[in-house]
């Protein structure tokens, strides 16, 4: 391993403008920083309050319909109550998962897209399991009530009850989506196959809603319950329309295009995006966009990429590593190609440090958001930048980094060596980190890189005395 340390006083490219990106193809007019995104309006307590309210009303209606006495009553009544409860929970879970993945601004600005999607994953897994429990318990209860076999009861329901075939189809879709998201299967299929399968969840929710209203004993005899669930469905639909359709409309209206494509390092290139509407956008360093070039064979693939330089009216820059089967094509896009940008997303911005000193850790192309955050740092934050790359040739934007570090009274530490080497000797041991980071306890850390690097750095920083709440991660826009 070689470790290069660039101290502030050793770099002479200095000046406040060092590291500023000159985007090829930018307009001649004065280049200004884009406005920073607004702070989140929703508080964590607001979100919690809404969740508790929705759960309480739903459980309350179930209790009012005698759910609890049936549950503890034993026999098939208990099975039936389990079926009802799991069905209600599955319905809430599905609506919650849809709202999370619709990434409405009021939630995204608070938690960041990676957190929303992590929560979506848990909501999704719970929903699929609850749907299966509900289907089995409800059929078993039906069989017990009518003295039929399980299969007989299933057939009876399908043949005679409205919306039961739809409910079964809904279950099959949910289970398929669950299976396709199981890591082993997800790794075997392409991202888009998985994504398109996931879209059928909207259909599944729609198909599942019918039997709730016609058959659910919580609905058929209670007007309040019926309005409550209709209201929840309408509210969810409103959030989806507003967030998803609104986002697509906005990105279409922006009229952005690729202004240039440049090579940065081995296997790494930059996509420069510009357009007249750029000046109206609010973006901060460390945020990312979902990028969709409108070119043949690329328009249907969405890629999350971090802005790799301070966003200005001179253009946005995305630094991209050639991995996967589609990224090389992205770097072959011709200048002038229209691009849809969805976003910006993410709360991985310098505001998280609240003015404290910082340490920025990047692995490989994770340098992109780190580079942009570094540019947003104030000299009083004394940024220490640790970059891990396989070899020096793999480090994009080296000159820029050195200039930025210099002008911000910081330090750049480049760790080179193959991955296996790092596995054998941990450069992120608590002692090692404490030695190169003065005042580590009071700093905030920003980490972006592969999961192995992420976990090694988190472990080292925590043992060296940094509070967990000071550690910030970006898992998405690499």
């Amino acid at each position: 391993m070689s470790m290069t340390r660039v101290h502030a006083d050793q770099v002479f490219t200095g000046g406040a403008r060092a590291g500023q990106v000159r985007t090829p193809g930018a307009t001649r007019s004065a280049v200004v920083r884009l406005a920073r995104p607004k702070q989140a309006r929703a508080k964590g307590s607001d979100v919690l309050a809404v969740c508790i309210f929705v759960t309480a009303v739903t459980i309350g209606l179930w209790l009012q319909h005698g759910g609890f006495s049936a549950l503890i009553g034993g026999g098939s009544g208990t099975v039936r109550a389990i079926g009802q409860l799991s069905g209600l929970a599955a319905a809430l879970g599905a609506l919650g998962a849809i709202i999370l993945t619709a990434r409405p601004v009021f939630l995204e600005r608070r938690y960041g897209l990676d957190q929303l999607l992590a929560a979506h994953r848990w909501f999704g897994i719970s929903t699929v399991l609850l749907v299966v429990v509900h289907a089995v318990a409800a059929t078993a209860a039906w069989a017990a009530m009518s003295g039929m076999t399980f299969v007989g009861a299933l057939g009876d329901m399908l043949a005679n009850e409205s919306w039961m075939v739809a409910a079964l189809a809904s279950t099959v879709i949910f289970v398929t989506i669950g299976l396709s998201s199981w890591r082993r299967i997800k790794n075997a299929i392409s991202y888009e196959t998985w994504y398109f399968l996931h879209l059928t969840a909207y259909l599944a929710v729609l198909l599942g809603f019918g039997h709730q209203l016609t058959l659910g004993s919580d609905f058929t005899r209670d007007r309040v319950a019926m309005w409550w669930w209709t209201g929840l469905a309408v509210a969810t639909l409103a959030v989806v329309m507003w967030s998803r359709v609104g986002v697509v409309a906005t990105s279409l209206r922006r009229r952005l295009y690729v202004s240039a494509v440049s090579r940065e390092a081995q296997g790494v290139g930059s996509l420069h995006i510009n357009g007249p509407s750029l000046r109206r956008m609010r973006v901060a360093g460390g945020q990312f966009f979902i990028v969709r070039p409108l070119a043949k064979g690329l328009w249907w693939q969405a890629h999350p990429f971090s802005v790799s330089a301070a966003p200005t009216t001179g253009g946005l820059r995305f630094t991209i590593k050639e991995l996967g089967d589609d990224t090389p094509n992205l770097l072959k896009v011709k200048p002038g190609t229209r691009v849809l940008l969805e976003g910006p997303y993410g709360v991985f911005t310098v505001e998280k440090a609240a003015g404290s000193r910082v340490v920025l850790v990047a692995g490989g192309v994770g340098i992109a958001p780190i580079r942009a955050i570094l540019e947003d740092c104030h000299p009083s934050q004394r940024p220490i930048v640790i970059v891990r790359v396989r070899n020096e040739r793999d480090l994009p934007h080296r000159t820029e980094l050195e200039g930025l570090v210099k002008s911000r009274d910081g330090e750049l530490i480049v760790l080179t060596g193959p991955r296996e080497w790092f596995a054998a000797r941990d450069p992120f041991s608590p002692d090692g980190l404490a030695a190169i980071i003065p005042g580590i306890e009071g700093r905030h850390a920003f980490i972006c890189g592969p999961a192995s690097l992420e976990s090694a750095v988190i472990k080292g920083l925590r043992k060296a005395g940094m509070p967990t709440s000071n550690i910030h991660l970006e898992r998405f826009g690499v």
Partner: protein
């Protein structure tokens, strides 16, 4: 583009299959082209209308004495009601017309209606039980899928006949 088609195919197949199966098989949607859903709905509403008025006929738990005049026939005899039998899914009560110890006709006046499923089961089971009981008496075959209601029906009818 071939790539796109290949990756979208599983989702389109899944979604398309679901829509087609639901459209063809679901009773709610298939009702338009087949008349099979209509009788079920009528039966269900029959049950609810009947059950609304059932309180007046079921207030006497004990069978009323019959007028044992020789002129009485099945057509002129008054129906007697059996006791209300509580089953797992709700009460069952049977009324019957009996002449000289011979059962002319039996029909339920109370049946389980506590929830939608019970109503649905009663809707198809009760008319069958009535028809069977009128011919077979307490030894009626019963309706599969309505075990509890069948038992309650037998019980109420048995007690009615015993009390004569």
């Amino acid at each position: 583009m071939g790539n796109f088609a290949r990756r979208a195919a599983p989702a389109l197949a899944l979604g398309g299959l679901a829509v087609v199966i639901v459209g063809v098989l679901d009773p709610a949607l298939a009702a338009n082209d087949a008349g099979n859903a209509a009788p079920a709905t009528t039966a269900a509403s029959d049950v609810s209308t009947a059950s609304a008025g059932q309180a007046s006929t079921s207030d006497s738990g004990q069978p009323q004495g019959t007028d044992a005049s020789p002129a009485t026939t099945c057509e002129t005899a008054e129906a007697v009601t059996g006791p209300v039998v509580t089953t797992r899914w709700g009460p069952v009560q049977v009324a019957a017309t009996v002449v000289d110890g011979q059962l002319c006709e039996a029909h339920a006046v109370v049946w389980p209606t506590e929830d939608r499923q019970s109503m649905q089961i009663s809707a198809y089971a009760v008319p069958q039980l009535d028809a069977q009981a009128s011919v077979q008496g307490v030894l009626l075959d019963g309706v599969s899928g309505a075990t509890y209601t069948t038992e309650g029906y037998r019980d109420s009818l048995q007690q009615l006949l015993d009390s004569l």
